[in-house]
Subunit: 104 residues, 2 copies
DNA sequence: AGTGTATATACATGGAAGAGCATATATTGT
DNA sequence: ACAATATATGCTCTTCCATGTATATACACT
């Protein structure tokens, strides 16, 4: 479980912007540096945090490192959210049944 | 969108435990204090952060305040995750088509 | 081998955030 | 009105984290 590490990684605005940018595929570190207004060392550190959280993966390409998002991380997020929805559905069902029983 | 505020609120382990506990419905502040090993003032502060992020809502009940989770917050999360999945599906489709075209 | 390029890491620093304590602000009951 | 209970908030302290600078490491090219 430990989902809070996942959330911690996405909590920083710069990291979230990096992840959002990665919707469009793989990015080299230098490309990210150009778009984000932050120093290269910062980008590398952010990428390390994202990688440790399992959100991104790295693929070496010559002297560059291409980073991309891992679908499995979003599977975890989706499963987490879904577990709440199941709880609510149950509660709404109970509410609905209670209303049906009481009124009408 | 500013989803990073949502993630920031869920990034703290204590806050995440509070949210997890709220799967089972409404909780008064004092009840949370009993289960979490933290001072009451801390719980109140965490609840304020969760409320400002739109994750929980409050309902006064006498001298107590009953907190519960807001389904809409999870709608936002779910939508966010879903937008990534759409991107991947498109990319996988392209990959699939490319493979079909090249091999066989 | 040596030079240039791309990325990662060690270090120091400023600022944010979480913790407990004390106190303020309801609300209930007498 | 007063005492008791429940919760929120101001304060201080400490810890953590993001940042930039400087440096190390890895790779490419000649």
């Amino acid at each position: 479980m430990e989902e809070h590490i996942l959330f911690q990684a996405l909590a920083d605005p710069v990291r979230l912007r990096i992840v959002e940018a990665m919707r469009s595929g793989e990015w080299a570190v230098g490309d990210i540096v150009e778009r984000m207004d932050i120093h290269q060392s910062g980008v590398s550190r952010h990428l390390r945090i994202l990688a440790e959280a399992g959100i991104v993966q790295m693929r070496p390409d010559g002297q560059r490192r291409l980073y991309s998002v891992r679908a499995q991380a979003f599977d975890r997020l989706e499963a987490w959210v879904a577990s709440y929805r199941r709880h609510w559905d149950r509660r709404l069902d109970r509410l609905g049944n209670a209303l049906k029983g009481k009124s009408v």
